[in-house]
């Protein structure tokens, strides 16, 4: 029995190590590349798995000093923060209404909103680029602020409905008996209890806005207004000239913090999926 347990444990580690290697390798390779000097990197015949010359920070200096990467990061952060706020403003009330106030209509509405989440940007970008142009928003970050809630609000609402349903009705009903209006009762009792769910929504909304590629390249062609997702692959590659070390630095510097944030909230996300996903 003991040997069997040991075998299972070893097998699990082998499987996990293989998956981790496959999943992380492109980033590990990028992280290894970003400290290489040009001589080292671009000499055919060098063993690619070694630093043939001493590692250097020059590529990071190039990325932050001589490219618009810093601007892209700031744009992404600004868009992310505004879209998170808009998403919360739209989806918290809607999710509460679906969970508590709409009776059997709630289920249908949740499903409708979920289906809207399935309509892909690659189908909507053509008419939306016309809308953005008509509103005079093209080539500004505001075009993305306008459309990103279409990606984030349906999913956030769906996730929050699941969270609100886990909170007993008695809690806000007691506050209403105590004399608060329903809105007052919700703000004082339900929102604090739903804080884990709301934080999860914040993380995932933020990540969804940084993940978008098609809207960012379709609406914006001015370097100073670009996001990380669109700016790095389109602006940091000039014709045939790839500054590979700096490009990899950009990818790794974005990938690692986002994955850390997700990892922190993964258990809540899994719980949210189990609640929202199973119940529909």
């Amino acid at each position: 029995m003991a040997t069997r347990m040991l075998m299972v444990s070893i097998l699990r580690w082998v499987v996990l190590a293989l998956f981790a290697l496959v999943c992380a390798f492109p980033f590990a390779w990028g992280a290894f590349t970003m400290f290489k000097s040009n001589d080292d990197l671009y000499t055919v015949g060098h063993v690619p798995f070694l630093y043939n010359s001493p590692p250097t920070l020059d590529n990071l200096k190039l990325l932050f000093g001589e490219t618009a990467f810093g601007t892209f990061v700031l744009n992404s952060l600004e868009i992310g923060v505004i879209v998170v706020l808009l998403t919360l403003l739209a989806s918290i009330p809607a999710a509460y209404a679906i969970a508590r106030l709409t009776g059997r209509w709630g289920g249908h509405l949740a499903m409708l909103i979920f289906i809207i989440y399935l309509v892909p940007p690659t189908l909507l970008f053509l008419p939306l680029s016309r809308v953005v142009a008509d509103l005079g928003l093209q080539d500004t970050i505001w075009s993305l602020v306008l459309v990103y809630p279409t990606l984030t609000a349906p999913f956030s609402t769906w996730l929050l409905v699941g969270f609100f349903r886990t909170i007993p009705r008695d809690i806000e009903e007691q506050a209403m008996v105590d004399g608060y209006s329903r809105v007052g009762a919700v703000v004082r009792t339900i929102l604090p209890l739903a804080l884990p769910g709301i934080l999860t929504v914040v993380i995932f909304t933020f990540a969804l806005t940084t993940n978008d590629f098609i809207y960012a390249v379709a609406f914006i062609s001015t370097s100073s207004q670009m996001t990380v997702s669109a700016g790095v692959p389109t602006e940091l590659i000039r014709g045939d000239v790839f500054f590979w070390q700096s490009l990899m630095a950009a990818a790794v510097l974005v990938a690692v913090p986002v994955a850390l944030a997700y990892n922190l909230f993964l258990d809540r996300f899994v719980k949210g999926l189990a609640l929202g996903g199973v119940k529909g």
Partner: protein, 314 residues
């Protein structure tokens, strides 16, 4: 459904109190809370969705504000184009192959990840990377990893004498290798979410079921196939549908990794729609290409609805 609260001080004729009373009615408050989201989604998802179909039957271009209807003309031109025919075939094939791979691997990964072990935090972080990183940036990392001159794989293959040392293997320049690369990247980036969804499914299976079956003498495989898999089926469906939508409608992978090439060998509906509609300036044709994604999306939605109504019954 809760009735209106007992009227407090109806003699007060203050407008704001009146409004508060109105908002205390669930039938009023519900729609008021829902309105901002529903109006926004109607304006920026539903109306544009209809507009795509309108464009597809017109001669709209990015350059002009007006357009006229041309019936099926745009569709005829689109369908006759061999690049489009390749794109629709590629979209289906890439999605099918990558998602079959994902389902098999995600099931294994979901199982090993849902157990408790030391260092779980680090392993989870590494495994989440392909899903959490913006797709454009991870595609860039793959582009470098598959570089024809400096790919580490080329070096390894050279050392193993699979290919002569110093010969570039054009991972993205030969049709079969480029197709394989796109499929691999799609499977790689959709795997973690599928595994996470399956983990959610595994945690929602009551452990007593498994324990009872074990007491009754059912072996590991018997329990796996007769208890775990059937209970996992509904949420596995969710994972599959997410994966299908993500792969079927993606343009970033093809756009960054291969630009649709070599030739147009890896072009998909989404990328071809983008090249035609935005870079080529033909809104009408871009839309006509895009709407061919619609039947599959509709199918996915119907499956979702059916699954949801099935759950409601039980």
């Amino acid at each position: 459904m809760i009735g209106p609260p007992p009227s407090r001080g109806t003699q007060i004729v203050d407008e704001s109190v009146h409004v508060h009373h109105l908002l205390d009615r669930d039938r009023v408050l519900g729609p008021v809370l829902l309105a901002p989201l529903l109006i926004y989604l109607a304006a920026l998802v539903v109306v544009p969705l209809v507009t795509v179909f309108v464009y597809a039957f017109s001669d709209a271009t990015t350059g002009s504000e007006t357009f006229s209807f041309v019936g099926l003309e745009t569709f005829k031109r689109t369908i006759a184009d061999p690049v489009f025919q390749g794109a629709i075939r590629n979209t289906i094939v890439f999605t099918l192959i990558s998602q079959v791979i994902v389902i098999v691997l995600a099931t294994v990964l979901g199982f090993v990840m849902s157990a408790d072990f030391k260092g779980k935090w680090l392993v989870r972080f590494l495994i989440l990377l392909p899903w959490t990183t913006p797709v454009a940036l991870s595609a860039l990392a793959w582009l470098w990893m598959l570089d024809s001159l400096f790919s580490p794989f080329n070096w390894i293959l050279g050392q193993l004498h699979v290919v002569p040392i110093g010969t570039p293997v054009a991972w993205l320049g030969e049709t079969n290798l480029a197709v394989g690369s796109v499929v691999a990247l799609q499977a790689w980036r959709t795997l973690p979410l599928a595994a996470v969804i399956l983990m959610a499914g595994l945690t929602s299976i009551p452990p007593e079921l498994d324990e009872q079956a074990q007491i009754d003498g059912a072996g590991f495989w018997r329990r796996l196939f007769d208890i775990t898999f059937p209970l996992l089926a509904p949420i596995m469906m969710v994972a599959i549908l997410f994966g299908i939508v993500a792969t079927f409608t993606d343009m970033a992978v093809v756009y960054i990794l291969t630009h649709g090439g070599p030739g147009d060998a890896t072009q998909v509906l989404a990328s071809w729609s983008f090249y035609t509609g935005i870079q080529g300036g033909s809104l009408a044709q871009g839309a006509a290409i895009g709407v061919f994604m619609f039947p599959v999306l509709l199918g996915v939605c119907i499956l979702m609805l059916r699954r949801a109504s099935g759950v409601e019954v039980t």
